[in-house]
Amino acid sequence: MTSRFDLEEDMKVLVAIKRVVDANVKVRVKADGSGVDLANVKMSINPFDEIAVEEAVRLKEQGAASEVVAVSCGPAACQETLRTAMAIGADRGVLIETDAALEPLAVAKLLKALIDNEAPQLVILGKQAIDDDCNQTGQMLAALTARPQATFASKVEIVDGNARVTREIDGGLETVQLVLPAIVTTDLRLNEPRYATLPNIMKAKKKPLDTTTPAQLGVDVAPRLTTLKTAEPAGRAAGVKVPDVATLVAKLKNEAKVI
């Protein structure tokens, strides 16, 4: 039998996941400009974070990782999101529970505090959350922990104690090699997350889920920025339907004067 201690470096992978409005929901801005209406809206795991969980589980299945820990910061309802991650294959979950609105810097500080205890060799996060579209947390975590980073990953390999990561960059691909421990953020093409099967969903309910708080971790999560208002984007009026290609070409040439 293979004991987990036979694995190279006994590598633990930590995955950070966020509970967000489901990607298929068309959000509505509140009439008073105070934000986006989240009442009775379907919530899901952030799609890029789901890719992060899948990648970590695949590393474990390949024998490159020994344990996959999923972490989420937010309200009690994030337990559902953590169960989703465990149904994909994460071994256990940690909820850093708070009802406060968290900015990326605060999340990075919470994750750093947790990492100081958990000491993972690899941390995988989604490149951005589809609610605030910030694209910051992974890079901030790498800075705070003084570790190397590879953002927008489309391929991750563990080779001789290093992470070799191919990144999506403007105009192509770039490969970097990182000394472990390291931080990786996922892009779309890294993998296609599996569907959680019913037996795995049932099994996930029995996996350990610990809860801690920002106070217990000693992290101040007070927001730094003030949101003055949230508004609908300027609408774009629908134009005209043209009956045929000839009319289209005429309009582009004579009306819009763009070709």
Partner: protein, 314 residues
């Protein structure tokens, strides 16, 4: 307020010349304050530094040149920005793959919040930025001592490439962090203009059906127009087009003069990437496709017939 403190723009460049994204970022910087400096951090990069110094409105270029800066590795580039950061009230990056990679690292090292992808400067401390794939616009105020910002290029007209003060000051380059190493870069070679700054974009969706048909139908139109080729996420996911052609919330944000959406239904996440285009043309078989609600000119037709006809008519 930090009135009077200069603004730092971290240049995007290829060591020889300046990338156009830098011009848009300088334009945003000039709305934040009067004195704009540009950091050019590279290797054998005197050409880029000289080009940056010529940008209109740039008072001074800080030029850091060293082997550790050859490949824009996040660890080294962030350290370089940190080394020159004292004294600046704003540090701006273009929201490109390089800017997005490095800016948050700088913000965290300065222990300040970052404001991502601003689309408008309201005042020196207040900015607009899109959230939820552009379905809402947030106005954010940052009281931080240093405002670390990424700039959505399409929201700011480029600063003129000529007319700057042509002042270049050398600064010490940082040493390599030893934490990461560059292995290789595979850049897609193309005769076409870059998607992000093309005047015309021809984009295809899942309706194209295969990568062969995507190429056979859309390439002649793009050739005829001198356009860049783009794709919807659905088309990229289906393998019809490479990932770096993807236009949308999770891909490229484009705002060309003309955007041709061929066989693209118009999912929210796609619209987020192209709805600021000056003229949008939609060709789609489905009369109910949401793309028609943002199109200036909509043609309800089978793209396999309409696009070749369009090529012939141009």
């Amino acid at each position: 307020m930090t009135a009077g403190k200069p603004i730092l723009v971290v240049a995007e460049h290829d060591h020889v010349s300046i990338k156009s994204a830098t011009l848009n970022t300088v334009a945003a910087a000039r709305q934040c304050g009067d004195e704009v400096h540009v950091l050019v951090a590279g290797h054998s990069s005197a050409g880029a530094a000289a080009a940056a110094a010529r940008i209109a409105g740039v008072a001074k270029v800080l030029h850091a040149d060293g082997a550790a800066l050859a490949d824009a590795l996040a660890e080294n580039l962030a350290a370089q920005v940190l080394a020159v950061a004292p004294g600046y009230g704003h540090i701006l990056f273009a929201a490109t793959s390089t800017g997005k990679n490095v800016a948050p690292r700088v913000a965290a090292l300065l222990d300040v919040a970052q404001v991502s992808e601003i689309s408008r400067v309201v005042s020196a401390d207040t900015f607009e930025r899109p959230i939820y794939a552009g379905n809402a616009i947030q106005t954010v105020q940052s009281p931080e001592a240093v405002r670390v910002i990424t700039v959505r290029m399409t929201a700011f007209d480029a600063a003129p490439a000529q007319g700057g003060a042509e002042q270049v000051e050398s600064v010490a380059a940082v040493a390599d962090s030893g934490l990461s190493a560059f292995v290789e870069r595979v850049v897609t070679k193309s005769e076409r203009p870059e998607l992000a700054d093309a005047r015309i974009v021809v984009s295809g969706g899942r309706a194209l059906g295969s990568s062969e048909k995507f190429d056979a139908v859309l390439t002649p139109l793009a050739d005829k127009l001198g356009a860049a080729l783009g794709a919807s996420r659905a088309a990229v996911d289906a393998g019809f087009a490479p990932n770096d052609w993807q236009v949308g919330q999770t891909g490229k944000i484009v705002a060309p003069e003309v955007y041709f959406a061929c066989g693209i239904s118009g999912a929210i996440q796609h619209l987020a990437g192209m709805k600021d285009s000056k003229v949008i043309v939609a060709i789609n078989k489905d009369a109910e496709a949401p793309i028609f609600s943002v199109a200036d000119f909509g043609l309800q037709a089978d793209l396999f017939e309409a696009v070749p006809e369009l090529v012939a008519a141009l």
